[in-house]
Symmetry: none
């Protein structure tokens, strides 16, 4: 699974051959097929795992902050790390957006949708709780959660210029601002007081 995750992230699904995967994993091709029913099966396994881990991290990050605005910042941050992490950590597979792997089983039966949906629900849960607590003011929680999560895909590297004028730190800040705005949380005053700075990772992010 590790070999597959890295290779898929590097070369893409269809350019990665079973030979690549098994050679990298140091096992025979036959062994691969004792653990996965097909190349696609590996992707599904990877997606499920990544999805579970990602959702857990998002929940944990939100729970770790006591203040409702801070919860939103934390979620943005976790997403940033996830989408930025690339092959190094397991989450990279989310970058395989629908269409590529869906082929064999008709239009988009991939696990991505399910995974996507799962995260959206986690975020929806947070927003609902915040609204119930009187901390957020959101008209349409479900729709907002979907938009929220989709927007955060802006972090995935290959979507941005290599020599991008928008640095990671700026993007994180803007995303936090956007999310707070959507949640009806006062953003301007508070965030300039230091919150975003706190949330911005000190490693791997340029100022």
């Amino acid at each position: 699974m590790a070999a597959g995750s890295e290779l898929f992230a590097t070369k893409g699904y269809s350019s990665t051959t079973l030979d690549d995967i098994t050679r990298r994993a140091g096992v025979s091709k036959g062994l691969f097929y004792q653990y996965f029913p097909s190349k696609e099966g590996l992707v599904f396994a990877l997606q499920e795992k990544a999805s579970r881990e990602f959702a857990a991290r998002v929940s944990a990050a939100a729970a770790a902050r006591a203040d409702w605005p801070g919860k939103l910042d934390a979620v943005v941050l976790v997403c940033f790390e996830h989408f930025t992490g690339g092959a190094t950590h397991g989450g990279s597979l989310f970058q395989h957006l629908p269409g590529e792997i869906a082929d064999p089983r008709g239009p988009d039966s991939s696990g991505h949708k399910a995974a996507h949906q799962h995260l959206v629900e986690v975020i929806g849960g947070l927003l609902h709780a915040g609204v119930a607590a009187g901390a957020y003011r959101i008209d349409d929680v479900e729709a907002t959660a979907l938009l929220f999560f989709t927007a955060l895909h802006a972090f995935v590297r290959p979507l941005r210029h290599d020599d991008d004028s928008v640095s990671d730190a700026r993007l994180v800040r803007a995303a936090q601002h956007l999310v707070r705005g959507a949640a009806g949380v006062s953003s301007a005053g508070v965030s300039s007081a230091g919150v975003p700075e706190v949330g911005v990772p000190t490693v791997g992010v340029d100022r």
Copy 2:
């Protein structure tokens, strides 16, 4: 190009063969290679065309509204139509997100990024103008434009549940709300007064 666009949208890039394309177009394979350097070349041509058309529609939609908040609503609407349109209109190719076509030439050389970037710049231009006119209040225009456009991908159908609880109309409204919030435009009072309703398409969208 029409044949390719439809087929790619239906079956995905890698599952569509040159035979499929030329058979559908009613021409020989040799002829294909007189107009496109490769299968990938067709994708690039399609992307460029779609990108140009999409950008033009976005610009036109924004220009058609005199009020700055309305411009934002209009852009959201155009994106909704674009991402929702599927195979029927040329824009569908944007749904082929990076990774699938990038294969041959190393990590992500696809034209998608460029196209994506192009649209982001168009939106960035609008935001800049709005800020300059004193209508929008945005800290980081570039980052916000990127987030803005990325969020709108929430419209693409295969990302949502088939039996999705979030209807198109709700999603459009929430997106308009989100965007207005990010632009510092008063959204709550005004939009509930009727603005989003105006923008909501009367055909193909359920209430």
Copy 3:
């Protein structure tokens, strides 16, 4: 051996995997290789067993009849049962005619030929005895025995139409007629007197 016999008869030799066999037998693959040198080795064992049993049954059936014409009828009947039995009894493997298993070791090294030959010799023995007893009149005993036994393969089911116009009973009768004719035994008069009827199985054969 039972698992192999059934599976070979059902799915054919090459489509049956060692996994199938050992799973069906409820043992490990390792254990298989302690009893048989190879997959092919199982076939040989099966063939030898079936051949021995078949030959024994043929001999016994012939011995059980005192009259020379009746011996011929009895042999035909045993062959009918054998070739018709399918997977249920061990003889089915004979249906794997040469070519399929011969592969690995050059043209036709299969045990089938030997088995075939064995039966031919048994039949040849009967014919010789009959000729010596003055009961049969056959010019070329060896050749006739070979033809005799080969002809009886007409019983194997998959060689006949599913909705075959030729019923089992008719085929048995015709075979007995043919064999008697080849042995120079008066067939018309005698058989109509009841002999073939006696031999026809009362179960599993339609009139």
Copy 4:
């Protein structure tokens, strides 16, 4: 088709690879798949062709003889040549008896059965005509035709010992005798007078 026919006859169906076939034919593998849907498809094509040719030869041989007993001898002779011919002429494929190729589509869907049946019908037609003409005396024409044709498979080489005591000439003679007997044609006196000798091929058959 020629390459396939020869290789299948030599090495068997499953041991013959597409590489073998295309290399022998001097074409690329891709080209193969423009003419045949699969490896199995080649077999079907071969069988149909062989079946047609064989049936034509059998009919022609029967028609060439004016006397009814001679027609039977001629058919036997054609079958002898066919089953003996091996890879050299196209008919060899009949030796691929059911079971080997049938795999993918459930028990025995191969074209062999149909081909077999076709020949049986040709022979049945001859017997019927002979009976109608008062030349043959056969109780059950269909069953006899089936037995007749099946018996003639005794000619196929790999069914016989390499150092076979039964020579080709003897086998042909015995087969003619058998067939005549089954058709109620006086065989003993006449055939020993010289008829079989006439029919025995002068080339490729040992005395």
